[in-house]
């Protein structure tokens, strides 16, 4: 169900690309820019969703999302990969010189690429087998998700021309989720907080 929700925007993008005129909702005058923005924003949204799972459970007792956290994380990685491919293939046409120069000279591109690289080990260790094999180190490794969320926000902030409102809003949400995570665990008597096995 979460997977379906996660792929729905992809279907929407495809529909807009193929039947935009008939739908009255096309990709606009700058379609590559639109696809780049959509893939990036959904990567950020799903990443933020993964970070919200535990705070939501801890502070509201709502645990329905908990078993979906891996799916959410993989959706984030999937969207981030689509975002990277949109840039590297559709925008730059895989031109090696441009890719090299962009990585070297453009802070926001280097930030974005570093963020995607940070998501790779998280995706690779998303299996139950990996959780078992890594044990406590899995938890430490997956704290990288916070760094990647921060990197995604910084990437977004660095590339907008003037309207810093949206990236700052995502930044505020990520900061709040981090603060909630670092807050002392609810004890007996704390509202709706129930101890649950695992983090």
């Amino acid at each position: 169900m979460v997977t379906a929700a996660g792929l729905a925007p992809l279907a929407a993008l495809g529909a807009r690309a193929a039947f935009g005129d008939a739908l009255g909702w096309d990709l606009g005058a700058n379609p590559i820019e639109e696809v780049s923005h959509e893939t990036g924003i959904w990567a950020l949204r799903f990443l933020v969703a993964t970070l919200a799972v535990t705070p939501l459970r801890r502070f509201t007792g709502w645990s329905a999302l908990a078993p979906q956290r891996r799916t959410l994380g993989l959706l984030a990685f999937g969207w981030a990969t689509l975002h990277l491919l949109t840039y590297a293939v559709l925008d730059v046409g895989l031109d090696p010189e441009t890719l090299r120069e962009d990585l070297r000279e453009r802070t926001y591109i280097a930030l974005g690429f570093a963020t995607w690289c940070g998501l790779v080990p998280l995706a690779l260790t998303s299996t139950r087998a990996a959780t078992r094999r890594l044990g406590a180190r899995w938890v430490t490794l997956h704290r990288l998700a916070y760094l990647c969320a921060a990197g995604g926000v910084a990437h977004y902030f660095w590339l907008v021309k003037q309207d810093v409102g949206p990236p700052l809003a995502y930044g505020a949400v990520v900061a709040a989720l981090l603060a909630l995570r670092l807050a002392p665990r609810g004890r007996r008597g704390a509202p709706a907080a129930r101890s649950a096995p695992g983090a």
Partner: protein, 309 residues
């Protein structure tokens, strides 16, 4: 140079023109699709298919009308590219006056029709290059700014020309937030203002400017980044000292006063070496002075263009 006097353009002709634009744009897009992934064709900058044309009327394919009027930076109506087309209906473009001030013989408020009275409207087909690294080709209708300034009789102290956009948050909802410091201001050095390429435009694609494109009167300076081509002008002031300009005041390290299109001077955060021509898939190389180097490079002889970006 072909000077066309104003004439009524029948609707039939406008429709034909749009079909032609679509066909050219489809060809350009199809070529782009074939070449996507291989980079732009060598010599794309020389336009072997269309030829350079005259600087006043490039032979490159004009951008599709829907895109030119539906993808706009006009923060007075919102910061999304689709906002101006959606929200600019609230702008009242008649009656319209321009306040003429400063180093001129007779300062005062001039109705728009008087400002341009007797001046033959010309068609100019110019490239427009946004600082965000996308570009269009637009057939403007207007008059040389120099002709308008000449009849205002500037004094010998007039070294700079500054312009201002309307400030009225009731008509321009984007002005209710301070995303930029309002009113929008831009300016030119007097020689840039008097240059034959510089025009005041009242129309595009054979009809009056739509509101989202800066109705009823805007500047077009094709060798500079698009933010210099100020829209919906209500004030023209000739002055002795260099005027402030909005984007330069907003982020001085990112947007200069001169803002000449220059592939060798990057924006601090993104490259200016390439651009996306709206309607095409592959990026193309950006040309010095947006391809108008022969006409304007001489204005900046001896200037360090990396310093005076």
């Amino acid at each position: 140079m072909l000077i066309r006097t104003r004439r009524e353009i029948p609707a039939r002709e406008i429709t034909d023109e749009r079909l032609v634009l679509r066909r050219r744009e489809f060809l350009a897009g199809a070529a782009g699709l074939l070449l996507a992934g291989c980079g732009p064709p060598a010599g794309a900058a020389d336009r072997p298919d269309f030829g350079p044309g005259h600087p006043f009327r490039t032979n490159e394919a004009p951008t599709e009308y829907e895109k030119a009027t539906g993808y706009n930076n006009f923060y007075e109506f919102g910061t999304d590219k689709e906002d101006p087309a959606r929200l600019a209906g609230s702008l009242r473009t008649k009656p319209w006056s321009v306040a003429v001030e400063g180093e001129v013989a007779k300062p005062g408020s001039v109705p728009l029709e008087d400002l341009l009275r007797g001046l033959a409207l010309e068609e100019r087909v110019y490239r427009l290059r946004c600082v965000e690294a996308w570009s269009m080709v637009i057939p403007w209708r207007g008059v040389p700014l120099g002709s308008v300034l000449a009849r205002l009789a500037p004094t010998s102290r007039a070294k700079w020309v500054s312009f201002e956009t309307l400030f009225d948050p009731a008509q321009m909802p984007g002005q209710r937030t301070a995303i930029l410091e309002w009113p929008y201001r831009e300016a030119l050095r007097i020689d840039e203002a008097m240059h034959p390429l510089t025009i005041l435009a009242t129309g595009m694609y054979g009809r009056d400017l739509p509101n989202q494109n800066g109705a009823p009167l805007r500047l077009v300076v094709p060798w500079k980044y698009g933010f210099k081509s100020i829209k919906s002008i209500v004030r023209i002031r000739l002055q002795e000292t260099q005027p402030a300009t909005t984007w330069h005041a907003e982020a001085p390290s990112e947007y200069g006063f001169y803002a000449n299109v220059n592939p060798d001077v990057d924006h601090p955060r993104w490259s200016q070496r390439r651009e996306r021509r709206i309607g095409e898939l592959s990026r193309r190389p950006t040309l010095p002075f947006n391809g108008y180097a022969d006409e304007v490079a001489g204005l900046y002889a001896g200037m360090d263009l990396a310093k005076h970006y």
